[in-house]
Symmetry: C2
Subunit: 318 residues, 2 copies
């Protein structure tokens, strides 16, 4: 009986909160979505509660993926949410608010869990998940189980240093993978190239498509049109990811790299293929069985994975 119940999976991203009502076979039977309130922790948790309550049926448990370091249910750091400055025990607060078991994890970690339970990584024991969006996130399945590190921080591949002294990253360092391959930093690089006299259709496309930022869809369209600035910056992003992920493959000997996030959804398997080819020269002992594939659940990886930790919490709670 218990296992038949529906569980809510909540994916708190850089700009939206997505909620899915998920069944025991990882099927998403209802959805809700909102932008992220800027009022800090209470506003974000209130919105999560509203979204879950708005679903077509009550959820027996809730799992939440957060864009920050999460350790034992506590959200320790959240670099990209407005007015969120200190650790919050999100699990306890939401549990009190909603009266059902609540589990909280890192967004990249629950995204990979979704792919591992129901998507491109199903049945694979050693997996690196790479999430290409506003920033670059990562997560591991190692030896057949999720690996989160000593304090929940494992998988922070966006800040692997590929070019010391190179491009400035949002984290303040120079030469991180994210400085070249994170969408926010790529947009900044496009702006700088325009200021330096280059021409690009990126910003016109953004306006035509009614977007505030250079979204993945804007980049994909510019690439289709052969825009030279977009092409150059995406080439550099892929080359940089190849070097950095080649190093991660050397260190961890995973057998599968899953590429997810907005960029992956828009550019598809050809993006994963290109990253794999870019990494090959940097891997010390090429594994003929190593595969590079795009996430197969699209924008559902996060809600499915978040629901899976909610369901595990439900089982633990009896």
């Amino acid at each position: 009986m218990t296992i038949e119940r529906l569980v809510a999976g909540v994916d708190v991203g850089g700009t939206n909160i997505e909620v899915g009502l998920v069944g025991p076979d990882h099927e998403v039977v209802d959805r809700a979505k909102s932008d992220i309130p800027t009022g800090g922790p209470d506003a974000v948790m209130g919105r999560i509660n509203e979204l879950v309550q708005s679903l077509s049926e009550p959820a027996a448990a809730v799992g939440v993926g957060f864009p920050g370091v999460v350790h034992r249910g506590k959200v320790l750091t959240v670099p990209n949410l407005a007015n969120w400055f200190e650790p919050v025990d999100v699990g306890s607060v939401l549990n009190q608010m909603m009266g059902v078991p609540v589990a909280v994890g890192n967004d990249a970690d629950v995204g990979l869990l979704g792919e591992w339970y129901a998507g491109a990584a199903r049945g694979v024991d050693n997996v690196l998940g790479v999430w290409m969006g506003t920033g670059i996130g990562g997560s591991f399945i190692l030896d057949g189980r999720p690996f989160n590190g000593s304090r929940g921080g494992a998988g922070e591949i966006g800040h692997i240093i590929v070019r010391p002294g190179g491009a400035l990253c949002g984290c303040g360092r120079r030469g991180c993978i994210e400085a070249y391959a994170g969408r926010r930093m790529m947009s900044r690089a496009a702006t700088e190239l325009v200021e330096a006299g280059r021409t690009t259709s990126l910003f016109d496309l953004r306006d035509q498509m009614g977007k505030e930022h250079l979204t993945s869809r804007v980049w994909a369209r510019a690439l289709e049109d052969g825009d030279p600035v977009a092409t150059e910056l995406v080439d550099l992003a892929i080359e940089t990811l190849g070097i950095g992920l080649g190093s991660v493959v050397n260190a961890t000997d995973v057998e599968l790299v899953v590429i997810g996030g907005g960029f992956s959804q828009k550019l598809g398997q050809p993006l994963a293929d290109r990253i794999g080819r870019a990494a090959a020269p940097w891997t010390i002992r090429p594994n003929p069985d190593l595969r590079w594939v795009r996430a197969s659940l699209g924008d559902s990886s996060g809600v499915v994975g978040a629901a899976s930790i909610g369901r595990a919490e439900l089982r633990r709670a009896g």
Copy 2:
């Protein structure tokens, strides 16, 4: 009774084979040592057998650490041993030769096992072991157990790319950690600096100390003397290790880094401290509990760890 028996641990390094007869509390009760024969696999395995037979008491099992990729008892690749060109089932061959259970692992992996069971990493769940010698080896304990990757290749940190297009590495790539911090490549850099007109005491010290190569002891002496070439190259090695290991810490969130190998033995805890300080600026979310310590078993890490896998094999064999 079984658990009281003595087990042989064999550490096949870049230049020597070290054998220890190890008791149930990881104590080394006898030792034997030889250089490595250059005649290929049969010669190496024959020498291992001779060394084990030369110990003061018979070994109930044998564990061997090999400098190469080892997967399920097979030595797949051995880049640094003469005339060893193809995969060899070392476990089966030695078992037939010696008539006792034999286990085979990677040298960096068994070295870290030694430190984990009986040295600086005892009781720690997430550990990176770094072995500074002829090359740079690495190994992981993750979530409280050894992590070897999908094909036994995990921990290959020496070929993490820190400076793409930088110094040429022995692996043929440019910019690997090992290109700056492996002793063989550091010696080559010293030779090049001398050819370019710099002066150093390194080669005179080598001759005075009766060594064929610039050993760790030679480097340590030159540093003590304030030799500018040695100082500059060791500074660069530490800076490079800091960047690369900072990236590994970002990706894995380990709580302990153990620095072992010849360099660590000669330069001690101050070397580990310097590497930790060099890594700090590159870690995205500094863990206040992260420690950098030198391997505490000295040149016994490998034989103690090798004996531990031999003992585990003995238990499995009943």
